[in-house]
Symmetry: C2
Subunit: 181 residues, 2 copies
């Protein structure tokens, strides 16, 4: 895993998490890996966890749903909706709104079970062309930013291993693309 730098768009260090890396796979393929269920499922969750189901309706208010499965076979559904889509460049979604922009019920308060994601966040993936030294092909600057409602949610996300987890997932994405689709 290469070194990560904090993204330039990080808004508030007490509330936000993020990283930025250059990867030597084309931007158009990274976009497909994020937006096509069959190409998202293989890499989205650090192994030995897996994604066993995914639904993507790529429009503002459209569903973004994944079901993660633990090595023991327990399943954890996550549902949210897309907020902003700039094809090939920017993808924003949240778990604070359900499909159709419906706010989630406030009853979803944090629990002691750290294996479920019970804090609310909005995540942004930004992609840009990037030169790769020693290569004539362009790679991708990959910037992930996650904004939280409060410091507690941000700290919980960090303690769950946000940066390592999303970094490993990105490594899995790159490995998948390098094998060829």
């Amino acid at each position: 895993m290469t070194a990560m730098n904090p993204p330039p768009t990080l808004l508030n260090p007490l509330l936000d998490l993020g990283f930025s890396r250059v990867v030597d796979v084309p931007r158009a393929l990274v976009w497909r890996a994020w937006t096509e269920p069959a190409l998202l499922m293989p890499w989205f969750c650090p192994k030995p966890w897996s994604v066993v189901d995914a639904e993507i309706d790529l429009r503002p208010g459209g569903v973004f749903r994944t079901t993660m499965q633990s090595p023991e076979g327990q399943q954890f559904p996550n549902s949210g909706c897309f907020l902003e889509i700039v094809p090939g460049q920017k993808l924003v979604w949240t778990n604070a709104l359900l499909p159709g922009f419906r706010p989630i019920a406030i009853a979803a308060l944090p629990t002691a079970d750290s294996s479920t994601v019970d804090f609310k966040f909005t995540a942004s993936i930004e992609l840009a062309d990037a030169a790769i030294s020693g290569s004539s092909q362009l790679g991708t600057r990959y910037t992930a930013t996650v904004v939280h409602a409060d410091a507690a949610g941000c700290q919980q996300h960090a303690a769950m291993g946000f940066e390592q987890g999303w970094g490993i997932a990105l490594d899995q994405l790159v490995a998948m693309l390098k094998k060829g689709l």
Copy 2:
């Protein structure tokens, strides 16, 4: 106030509120009255309440902030962000996300004070050209839909007088436009 019909896009009668009316003012002016602070403030709140401040950043994730003032002079700020903007046709915003799509803190639980809006909703205003009988000028079909997280929030909003309140505000909007900008 003319009769209202439920909008066709009403998603769930237990969770959603809405109405649809035809008003004899042009769609382009209704759009301006919703998206320019100086044109929004005069009508947005049923009198004798008023809007004493408004901020509109008309892009996905941009701020939509108003400060309402009671007849006694008490001020109630409301802050949210825009989700979807189709100029002249559709405006969607929520109070479940702050500017930059940041989820609101869960600490904002409902209180006993019914004068504050503490439930979360996403509101959609849809505008379409509509024929006006006896007039050669087109009017506007105005459809408002508000989706809530749960039945309690929907009922609280209904009990606060959603339909009457938004209807009176629309009357005030139409009256302002008929006087000329």
